[in-house]
Symmetry: C2
Subunit: 425 residues, 2 copies
């Protein structure tokens, strides 16, 4: 059965675009996302997702989930409330060790709100993993993280409550871990390509902790970024300023004179954890000889909300957002001008039958100028106008958000045009 598109009438959508944003909202991503009706700011660093924003979030989540499943990772869902016990064993319970804990009282005990999930997952797995036959495997979740960030002025780039996709790998040997780590790295590249920020995103050597020389960050070059990286354009790698000593550059085969400094946003990171968590929490497996060994772990994070903020920082102009096609809330923004005549409604119904997901501006009381301005602000890649003039010809007027050129085409050609004329930002 052919897919029938979803057509959301703006007269029914309960959100509206806003002219004003509170002055304390300084980040471009947050200002545009609030004005467009994608998110609502509850407090500093705490954002609710409105219907348009939730559609973007779910598209990103869908892309990430596909790539996680392709890795063979199994989805689960851990909890926000944290028993202190495993965190005490790894030394990460105190506010000195982790300075962004939110804690709360549950009966007589103080419990935490998870800022990450190595401890509870590692402890839980002691109930399920016993033998080398149970390994290797990987597990991931989309789960809300809480981080009591002292500064939260960057909109969706640094939130106090945010959804995170976190993947964890469990291997028997360093070699087995490395093989998965490389596959996860490739999956991350694919994800950033698919969501539309791959061209600006560099795999970046960063500090590695105790168990490996480096971790890898995925850094998207952007003026709003809080990190400084040094980019080697030819190899498409970078080094985080924090670790970019001469010794490190030599080790990586990079020459300082070939490096370009840039501000960047960390959109993902992958870590080799070694036995940092499995040893204190006793996640052990019996090898072929029956000897108990600690499991070798890795962790791999992406914040879908941060990806949204980054995409908006990269892709906007003075009029509004310019969504990458893969994560836009809808494929097309359909505008009805003049009047809701029968023929015009017929044309729009046919767009739906063609399988186009559209936000449909059917509002009678709005002027054309306001409708065009809203379309530019909301930033859906294609704009389709149906007016008396186009209806007379049995056609629609189609235009990309990023282009000034529009063309009149027949409804049955819309989908093909949208597929063939790839959006290039």
């Amino acid at each position: 059965m052919p897919y029938t598109g979803c057509m959301q009438r703006m007269s029914q959508l309960f959100t509206r675009t806003l002219k004003e944003v509170s002055a304390d909202e300084v980040a471009a991503n947050a200002r545009l996302l609030v004005r467009g009706g994608f998110v609502h700011k509850v407090m500093a660093g705490v954002y609710a997702y409105l219907p348009l924003g939730l559609r973007v979030l779910k598209k990103i989540e869908g892309i990430i989930r596909e790539e996680m499943n392709a890795l063979g990772a199994q989805e689960l869902l851990l909890t926000a409330l944290q028993d202190p016990a495993p965190w005490k064993k790894t030394g990460r319970w105190s506010d000195e060790a982790i300075d962004i804990w939110f804690k709360t009282q549950s009966g007589d005990v103080v419990v935490g709100l998870a800022n990450t999930h190595e401890e509870p997952l590692t402890r839980m797995l002691t109930h399920h993993i016993a033998s080398y036959k149970d390994l290797p495997f990987s597990a991931y979740q989309f789960q809300t993280k809480f981080r009591n960030e002292p500064r939260a002025k960057s909109g969706l780039l640094r939130a106090r409550e945010f959804m995170m996709k976190d993947l964890y790998s469990f291997s028997r040997t360093a070699q087995e871990h490395e093989a998965f780590y490389e596959k996860a790295k490739d999956a991350y590249r694919t994800i950033f390509d698919r969501v539309g920020i791959g061209e600006s995103t560099y795999i970046t050597y960063a500090s590695g902790g105790t168990f490996s020389a480096f971790s890898h960050e995925f850094q998207t070059v952007c003026e709003a970024g809080e990190d400084i990286i040094y980019i080697e354009e030819e190899r498409r790698v970078a080094v985080n300023k924090e670790v970019a000593s001469d010794d490190v550059l030599r080790e990586l085969g990079l020459k300082r004179e070939n490096l370009r400094e840039a501000k960047a946003i960390e959109v993902g990171n992958i870590f080799s954890l070694g036995t940092r968590f499995s040893e204190p929490l006793e996640l052990l497996y019996a090898d072929e000889k029956g000897d108990k060994r600690p499991v070798i772990m890795g962790s791999y994070g992406i914040g879908p909300g941060r990806v949204i903020g980054t995409a908006v920082e990269l892709r906007h102009d003075e009029r509004g957002i310019r969504w990458p096609a893969a994560i836009a809330p809808y494929d097309a923004h359909v505008i009805m001008l003049d009047s809701k005549e029968r023929e015009a409604e017929d044309l729009i119904a046919r767009l739906e039958q063609e399988g186009i997901d559209a936000l449909y501006d059917d509002r009678l009381e709005k002027q054309a100028g306001e409708k065009f301005a809203d379309a530019d602000l909301i930033g859906i890649p294609w704009r389709i106008v149906v007016s008396k003039r186009t209806v007379e010809k049995g056609m629609v007027e189609i235009k990309q958000r990023i282009s000034k050129d529009s063309s009149l085409i027949e409804v049955q050609n819309v989908k093909i045009k949208m597929q063939n004329d790839n959006i290039k930002f």
Copy 2:
């Protein structure tokens, strides 16, 4: 393109069934769900979802989402962290007013973890709703709630952290509200029918608050329930003991001698809120004459985790769970006996091609008895055995979880048999 099933090999699944559950886990639902590898208990009232449990949760979520969208409700996602301001305005911030708050420190201020979302949603909508033209509408979310329950010994029936579907309606008049309320009531009936607990679930008159005589609870009759209801079987309605005075029974046209007392689990509730929240939070709309009026609200909740717990309480025997088909983690539990011969693997690949989602017990090291016991514990509605004996005939042996009778059939008839022989518990 025909749907190809998803085949999860148990040799790859990282969870295992457990022989033991800690003695402090007293509720049948939690004991079975933990033993089957559906959930993991982190603390009292705090459960993580493992891959099998997450599949059940997502199936329930999918059914609810379809029915919410059919109502025309728009999905959004509010936050856990709560600014105290709107809660102070409605008088629900203090621990005396709401005795199950979790609160935490964010910088200098105390913030809450949401136990419900009337306040933040009502406040947020003051940015989007201004005129009678913006109404009516409804919005819903699947969002984690936090309730610091003093007793949390009922497994998934009363959790401290749990996902909730909460729907809110916004109307101009009492009449408009009532019309939506009745539609929502019907949607709830449909949901409980679809998830497989409809037959035991009664719409129940309960206390209504200030703005309506009654609210409606959906109560599932079950020995594990904490509520007492009086059921009028013929009309399929019930009254919560809390409000079942003689006066109330007379008002509802019920006769005490026709009522049967039963323990029940509240799996959903719907409330008329009137202007309880819109007045203090100033969610007003201008009517046709330009007069400002408070919006009339309703709220409608279902806890998918509680639905899971209830389904398990209702549908289990001494050997394990008996999932309703619509929310089972997989359609079939495929067991390979004897050996992984080429012909057997071919038969199983053909099940996958037939579009059957299956948990596939391919474990070589396990004995037949253990495999059968695991299948009974996990409780998937259909069990399909492939053995030397069946392979010789080019067939599989199929049996319902609830039945003792098995039959040999050809692979191409499996799907039809599963569709036609409806599971009756």
